[in-house]
């Protein structure tokens, strides 16, 4: 049987999740404290693992799961007939159960009385009621919000997605070229499912040209945007609309290429503007004040374009943002250093941080066979030290 990779590698346990530690802690807490709160809403963009997390929670706790999603009719009558008994009856085979109402923002006009009935169920259910949705802040959900614990599932970082893709392609024995995988991760914009689907669609197509052309497509797009920004001072409010890249990714491209376009005062002015854009971005992330997005947008566009009195003429060779890839490669490299340092830190009553900082000084000591034996270093760790 062939399975979609995105289904085959669906996260089944807490440990399978990447970059959702906060959400996992929260749902654990919710289940442990039940019935302090009886309902919980997992919300976030598509492909961040909302449904998987609910299923994983059931599996981890050996609970049965009763699932209703948008494909089922969910009006008042239906909820009353099916879900209500379930909230009252015991599970047949397992210790308990979780009731999963998937995609509650899909409870629509045709599901008459659906939301009020859900609210009623939340107040009286004997079993945890888990709901998922993309946008928890729409007004029709407000009565439900008041009764439920709310957990945000964030879009995954490019790095987390890259990790996942690497793992899968390793297991499936498909193209593991890092730059190829990181292109897919960038393109996915935090949607794991989309990323895995993309991986699959390229993996079985032995004609690798598909991948390259797609990649070039994205790049041309961003190159055009950069040129319009730096050279033409194009109208700004829709400048970043015509790309599949997110505003944050465009940010990385601008960050990388400012010094290729500007020197001296213009350089300082441009980074001043980018720094301001970043400050507003920070406020948006911290307080969810989306109002500030317009300021980020203006500093990130007009602020950069007008850093110089007259735009630079001629051709500028723009380059791929390197920072994220560099960090990722570095993390791979220091993995061994970290495991060694951990063992050493425990032995000498010292913090891992400090050992990592003094690693070069300690290295000759770690090379002694007797020390390596005492620390029970693995062969790979010994190899790392001898490199």
């Amino acid at each position: 049987m062939y399975k979609n990779l995105s289904e085959k590698y669906i996260a089944e346990k807490y440990e399978d999740f990447h970059g959702q530690d906060a959400a996992i802690i929260e749902i654990k807490k919710f289940l442990a404290e039940f019935p302090k709160r009886r309902g919980i809403i997992l919300h976030g963009p598509a492909g961040t693992g909302k449904t998987s997390l609910a299923l994983a929670a059931a599996k981890e706790n050996n609970l049965e799961i009763l699932e209703l999603n948008a494909s089922d009719l969910r009006n008042r009558l239906k909820l009353e007939q099916i879900v209500k008994p379930a909230t009252e009856q015991k599970s047949l085979f397992k210790a308990g159960k979780i009731i999963l109402m998937d995609e509650v923002d899909g409870v629509t006009g045709t599901d008459i009385g659906g939301i009020p009935e859900l609210v009623r169920l939340v107040t009286m259910t004997n079993y945890p009621l888990v709901m998922t949705c993309n946008d928890v802040w729409q007004s029709k959900l407000s009565p439900l919000r008041a009764k439920c614990k709310i957990i945000e599932m964030k879009a995954l970082s490019t790095l987390s997605i890259l990790e996942i893709l690497k793992k899968i392609s390793g297991k499936e024995g498909i193209n593991k070229n890092i730059s190829f995988l990181s292109q897919i991760s960038l393109k996915s914009q935090g949607d794991v499912r989309a990323a895995i689907n993309d991986l699959q669609s390229y993996a079985y197509d032995h004609n690798i040209i598909v991948d390259v052309s797609e990649k070039r497509d994205v790049e041309e797009n961003i190159f055009n945007i950069l040129r319009k920004l730096f050279k033409e001072r194009a109208p700004f409010f829709d400048l970043f609309d015509n790309t599949k890249l997110s505003l944050d990714e465009v940010f990385l491209w601008i960050e990388e290429n400012i010094p290729r376009e500007y020197k001296n005062e213009a350089l300082a002015n441009a980074y001043y503007a980018l720094g301001k854009a970043d400050v507003f971005r920070g406020r948006i992330y911290r307080d969810q004040s989306w109002r500030f997005l317009i300021y980020q947008n203006i500093f990130q566009s007009a602020g950069i374009a007008y850093a110089k009195k007259t735009p630079t003429q001629g051709f500028t060779k723009y380059e791929n943002p390197k920072r994220i890839l560099k960090i990722w490669l570095h993390n791979q490299k220091i993995e061994k250093k970290k495991t060694i340092s951990k063992k050493y830190a425990k032995l000498v009553h010292c913090s891992l941080k400090r050992v990592m900082r003094d690693f070069d000084l300690i290295r000759p000591i770690l090379k002694k066979p007797l020390v390596q034996e005492q620390m029970r270093l693995s062969d790979e760790e010994v190899d790392f030290l001898n490199k």
Partner: protein
């Protein structure tokens, strides 16, 4: 104690009498330990001055051979969340001591790395389990420990080791290891160690892995080869107008030494006054640096902000302010 070839462990004192320096502190702690009852301790002082060592000696003196079962050591800078206090500390504290000892001891190293919330949780734990458990907290700065915890502890301020203390340690180690250490090498080890005993011994052992006959030149080569690339190099690139190189080096250093942007900014702030530029520009750059640090604490992207700062240095290199 099993044999070890790590000198910082091999020569770690296991009795009060063997400790170098900190005489006053040892006198007081010793008398408390001899009464077989100790209060909670707070050890404050720089790294490598004997805080962990003394904690170990205290439990060994109190509990004898069964010290290991009754002692938990945690490093707060590695596990700094409130969960550590809630779980590890509580689990250990709530069970009774094993064998004939009246209580257990938890040593919480670098406790000033704990968040305020974690410290609040710790304070309750210290109270609730004081029948079964004593705490020894260590920190670099006692000002970062919340007052309620300070008031529950007897505090000791560890002083940085003096030159003669470090010399005494070098002498002990080199005699046991058959090293020949020249007089000026003693000075070099002290200079590089900055009074940090762990650093001094590590430096000595790293050098000894090359030769048994040690002079100051060798010490200095080892010390400088392991010194992190200075921030100065990066600033020099920026001042010379080479922004791209400055930026690449900065990212390399931050990754390689695993230092955070907030640490970089502190180093930059110090380094400004050593630069060959007009004093007026130094003031302007300091202002920029302050603004950058402020933005970092507000949750902006550290590396973006540092790039903006580097761009100001490029201008300063041409005698211009932003």
């Amino acid at each position: 104690m099993s044999q070890t070839d790590i000198w910082t462990e091999k020569y770690r004192p296991s009795k009060f009498e063997e400790v170098v320096g900190q005489h006053e502190i040892i006198k007081r702690i010793k008398s408390l330990v001899q009464a077989l009852n100790i209060p909670h301790f707070l050890f404050a002082g720089p790294a490598g001055t004997g805080k962990s060592t003394l904690a170990l000696i205290v439990v060994k003196e109190l509990f004898g051979p069964s010290w290991k079962e009754n002692y938990l050591e945690l490093n707060a800078s590695d596990e700094r969340g409130i969960d550590v206090v809630r779980q590890k500390v509580k689990d250990f504290a709530r069970t009774k001591a094993i064998k004939n000892v009246p209580f257990k001891v938890i040593f919480l190293d670098e406790a000033d790395a704990l968040t305020k919330e974690a410290q609040q949780a710790l304070r309750r734990t210290m109270e609730n389990y004081s029948n079964t458990c004593r705490f020894i907290l260590s920190c670099n700065y006692s000002s970062r420990i919340i007052d309620p915890i300070q008031s529950r502890c007897v505090s000791f301020r560890f002083k940085i080791l003096e030159k003669k203390d470090i010399a005494e340690i070098i002498k002990r180690v080199s005699e046991k290891e058959n090293l020949k250490v020249s007089q000026d090498a003693y000075d070099s080890v002290y200079e590089s160690s900055e009074g940090d005993c762990r650093k001094a011994i590590n430096l000595l052992q790293a050098t000894a892995s090359i030769a048994m006959d040690i002079n100051s030149e060798m010490i200095e080569i080892i010390a400088s080869s392991t010194k992190p690339t200075g921030i100065k190099v990066i600033l020099d690139y920026a001042l010379a107008g080479d922004f791209i190189n400055a930026r690449d080096k900065l990212l390399d250093v931050m990754l390689k030494e695993s230092i955070a942007g907030t640490e970089v900014i502190k180093a930059v702030q110090k380094e400004i006054w050593n630069l060959q530029i007009e004093p007026e520009l130094k003031v302007r750059l300091t202002e920029k640096t302050g603004e950058t640090e402020f933005r970092m604490t507000e949750g902006s992207d550290e590396f973006v902000q540092l790039q903006a700062l580097l761009a100001s240095f490029v201008l300063a290199g041409q005698g211009k302010a932003t």
